[in-house]
Symmetry: D3
Subunit: 149 residues, 6 copies
Amino acid sequence: MLKQAKNRVGRNAILLAMLEDEEEHGLIAHLNALNWRYCKGKVGSMDLQKIVSAVETAAKRNGIVNGDLYREMHALYHAVLEAMQGVTRGQVELGGLMRTVGLRFAVMRGTPYENEAEGEWIAVALYGTIGAPIRGLEHETIGLGINHI
Amino acid sequence: MLKQAKNRVGRNAILLAMLEDEEEHGLIAHLNALNWRYCKGKVGSMDLQKIVSAVETAAKRNGIVNGDLYREMHALYHAVLEAMQGVTRGQVELGGLMRTVGLRFAVMRGTPYENEAEGEWIAVALYGTIGAPIRGLEHETIGLGINHI
Amino acid sequence: MLKQAKNRVGRNAILLAMLEDEEEHGLIAHLNALNWRYCKGKVGSMDLQKIVSAVETAAKRNGIVNGDLYREMHALYHAVLEAMQGVTRGQVELGGLMRTVGLRFAVMRGTPYENEAEGEWIAVALYGTIGAPIRGLEHETIGLGINHI
Amino acid sequence: MLKQAKNRVGRNAILLAMLEDEEEHGLIAHLNALNWRYCKGKVGSMDLQKIVSAVETAAKRNGIVNGDLYREMHALYHAVLEAMQGVTRGQVELGGLMRTVGLRFAVMRGTPYENEAEGEWIAVALYGTIGAPIRGLEHETIGLGINHI
Amino acid sequence: MLKQAKNRVGRNAILLAMLEDEEEHGLIAHLNALNWRYCKGKVGSMDLQKIVSAVETAAKRNGIVNGDLYREMHALYHAVLEAMQGVTRGQVELGGLMRTVGLRFAVMRGTPYENEAEGEWIAVALYGTIGAPIRGLEHETIGLGINHI
Amino acid sequence: MLKQAKNRVGRNAILLAMLEDEEEHGLIAHLNALNWRYCKGKVGSMDLQKIVSAVETAAKRNGIVNGDLYREMHALYHAVLEAMQGVTRGQVELGGLMRTVGLRFAVMRGTPYENEAEGEWIAVALYGTIGAPIRGLEHETIGLGINHI
């Protein structure tokens, strides 16, 4: 069974990606108390590859995943792709479809299940805007990918 | 331009769908001050049709949309479908792929742009779990759809 | 090279599916002069299977394809699926996504290329409405599939 | 309810995109009598972005949509994407899949419902050829997207 | 790095699913020497759910995965879905698109990387026929899904 | 009805793509006895276009298809695309999703049905690895496309 709301990797990743700096103090304190590994960052691009790359690089640099271990990178990669499907809603494509994103992302690695044998899971949350490559012609978007790691 | 974070339809819909009852007081007060129309609800099913139907019915009953006006139902329908793409991440299918969801949803109709001429927009947020039709074999999922209305 | 507009299988199938009975006399005379095989019909359903089945049955009964020859049924089947992608625009699904269609269809088998060695090709055109399972809550839709046969 | 065939945005957009110059006189007279806004154009490319861009630019220049209003550009954008799904039938991709298109397009903005409260709708129709980047190795294709505006 | 061909989970799963009984003796001996867990089975249906279910049940009954541990079932589920995408090539749907499959499947769990830290991976291979629900109107199809476990 | 296993185009194409050079002698002898046309090759790229192009070029150069006849190139093209869907499992995209493939491919043209009237069919098989653009961070993948020709 999943733990209660405050101890879930998805919900915490979404809040970390979505809350403004001045709103996140309580969340950060809670995550530190959980002793989970996490990071957040920003990326804007018409190029999907840059989104994938920004999240992977941040996760490796902050020690969320071990970049030399394929099983960890494989888990992270599929979580990123699933999150991008929420962001793009149908065609996982940006510039080719004449659109661009401005995203904040969070990666979180923790133990969201009551049963210890379920081990660690990773969540990737993306939140921001998607729209035409013209300032202001955009609306919000979100995506979440979760995988066992 | 989109208004600042607290006055966006997507972010507010996500928080309304995701926060526990005891966490949402501040959000509800804020939404009421904005004078926006919104509703929330719960639905669990292996049947996509029931998810679509539950959101549409709640939105109509709570006066978020006018069920007799196709242009409003069309706007809502596409927002629901886009939200389901975040939830299902690839194939918009549940039972056929041997999986089920337990979701909380929020529908929000407001004016998220600084330019008044941008008028009203509708957001549908879905948050909950997706997994095998066996209690506990599930992880979190989220989806957001936004449309002009 | 494709022949000029009037001697193309796709354009003729679209017109046959889309024109009202009182508009199609010139088209029918032209098709008969070309000596091509064609048929038209109607089908309405929330069930994709019934759309596929209605088109296949009409094509077999009218001698457009030989139902005992898999290579002909394979060519027709893929043309129907491609036409359904235009109709559904993203997810090839109807009732599961809480929507229904009312379609007129045409199947046309002819020789649209100047080079005789290009042989016969088949076109499936679908035109009608798609929308909620409530009368009037619907808009137009079209699809065209083409294959060598 | 949709108006009868001659007063529908989709059917008119398809005919405008598909008819040869010498065939379209009656259609143009009818559209002008309806007092609807419309335009037509041509675009050929292996690059999806150029197709989207050509349609958007034509619609803005001809006053079909207001390019400064995101809600109008959002309505148009989704209509273009839906039309491209009919053209590409499965993967909304051209050059990456080693194929190119030569399309004629029409954009039409009108009032296709009997109920005046349903307001304005926009249709984007694309008709032409798709195939290998070698002259003649191509067949016909069509797509239609419709949205409230 | 992946080990050489004979010690890969995907290739072995494909051969196990594809070889006739009289051809597989050498393969079985090799797999037993590797000391990997594997099983094979057959399933025919117009219903995707039955395919997923047949593979999951066989994998649990043969001890390839622990059915009580979600992280193992999650790994297996995504491998099955990815294999079904190869089988269905575009729309992960069978009966709704008026087609049926007759498949042999293999599930294999082993250590295909030279680096021991890469641990165990699971492969699901499906091989058989797909076609109309009429005997003989069918062609071959294959799919392979691989995941860390 | 399909002929027995050894005389099927899909199975033979898969084996030809997957077997190591030292394993394929029996297969080659069998194919030559069948008097079928076939070829094999290798291609590695982050660019889908190069995969499509490599297979098409090999098939033309080896006389499997007639490059001047669109109906043959159309049959081959769709077989390649279907095979790529098995390889990419969901989004037919490589570099844009930050991944690369190293593939061996086989194209086979033969008569796999007992009924002579079913004529010739073409199979394209792809087997190899897919993963991050970093050596070793990859797993196996397969795809098969089949079409009448």
